[in-house]
Symmetry: C2
Subunit: 207 residues, 2 copies
């Protein structure tokens, strides 16, 4: 199954490269804030960087509805029993979602720290989100995702004054699995740190 | 694989029933507060209801260390690549962890809303935790767990004043998948609602 997935992932990577599209595979626990981050990201990039989105959940098209009307084509995958997206499903959607001008494709994976990390979708990089409400030690407990992440976003940092969250312990946990990790602290709700994230994306889109 | 698991689950259920032990399979997204809930629960039940704990993570024995020294025997399972506990691993540990006086066995599953819901461990009931920081619509997006849950705990309710969380929408999402769900709101950090949860457990232990 993984071999078949990797074959589709290779084809997706070629398809995207030929069109100059950078794809990011966004992975986190459920409720870490992937969709709100994407809402604010699409708003910030509107009329600057043409984007497209594929979003996955086991059930509902809630996320596609939240992301609609922000200037990007959005497709929802309902995975039903599956706990992750796979490259075959992405391959089918690429021609429908990625228009000729698109530079950035966001793939919002199923909310799950474990299984999505094992399936290459043909992306340029995996982006890991870790909400500060989840505590400090998730990178050590679930290293597979964090080891591979091109960037790690610590989300919901607007809640820090109300949590007993230890930045030093979290950084230590991240360094333990990925010593050179690129880490950004953001709050999509208040906008804190969003400039750095959007600059990072514009840098990718200019390549 | 599921058939083999179900066979072990059946045997676990008999083993526990013969000894009058009630086992609860605690499932949630990563960081929803399973371990802190169990820390406070073991403290509340100490010298009242003899307990034992099996706790699972992909890596680290962090949780077993947090739960030690509270009067209950604790065993850690590191699942490595697996995204859930299975009944076979539990079967091996039962005789080591469940002493002769134990009435309640807590099994803290891997942090994951999807995969653990598919694997019966031989438990009396699944307990689903949903942190209010995760938003309102997770039950609809990941129904498999919530449909089966004997009780659903909304955790971290001490953070509600700092969130835009809509109780009505969350209740609607829960009713949509489990109209008769038993729902409790708790904060393990402040103790809010913990009395109701502990009463529920003492009720189970008296059966």
């Amino acid at each position: 199954m993984l071999a078949k997935n990797d074959d589709f992932a290779r084809r997706n990577r070629h398809w995207l490269a030929r069109r100059g599209v950078i794809a990011l595979n966004i992975i986190s626990a459920p409720g870490a804030g992937k969709t709100l981050l994407l809402e604010r990201t699409l708003e910030a990039l509107r009329r600057k960087v043409p984007c497209a989105v594929i979003t996955g959940d086991q059930y509902t098209d809630n996320d596609a509805r939240r992301l609609a009307g922000k200037g990007a084509r959005v497709a929802q995958i309902e995975t039903m029993s599956a706990c992750h997206l796979d490259a075959g499903r992405i391959a089918k959607l690429l021609p429908k979602v990625v228009g000729p001008r698109v530079r950035l494709l966001f793939i919002e994976n199923v909310g799950n720290l474990v299984c999505p990390a094992a399936f290459d979708l043909g992306e340029h990089a995996k982006i890991a989100l870790l909400s500060v409400t989840e505590g400090e030690d998730k990178p050590e407990k679930y290293p597979a995702l964090f080891i591979q992440a091109g960037a790690i976003l610590l989300t919901k940092v607007d809640l820090l004054p109300h949590l007993q969250w230890d930045r030093g312990r979290c950084q230590e946990s991240l360094r333990h699995v990925h010593p050179a990790a690129r880490v950004m602290e953001v709050s999509a709700r208040t906008g804190l740190g969003m400039d750095g994230w959007v600059q990072y994306l514009r840098g990718l889109a200019r390549r």
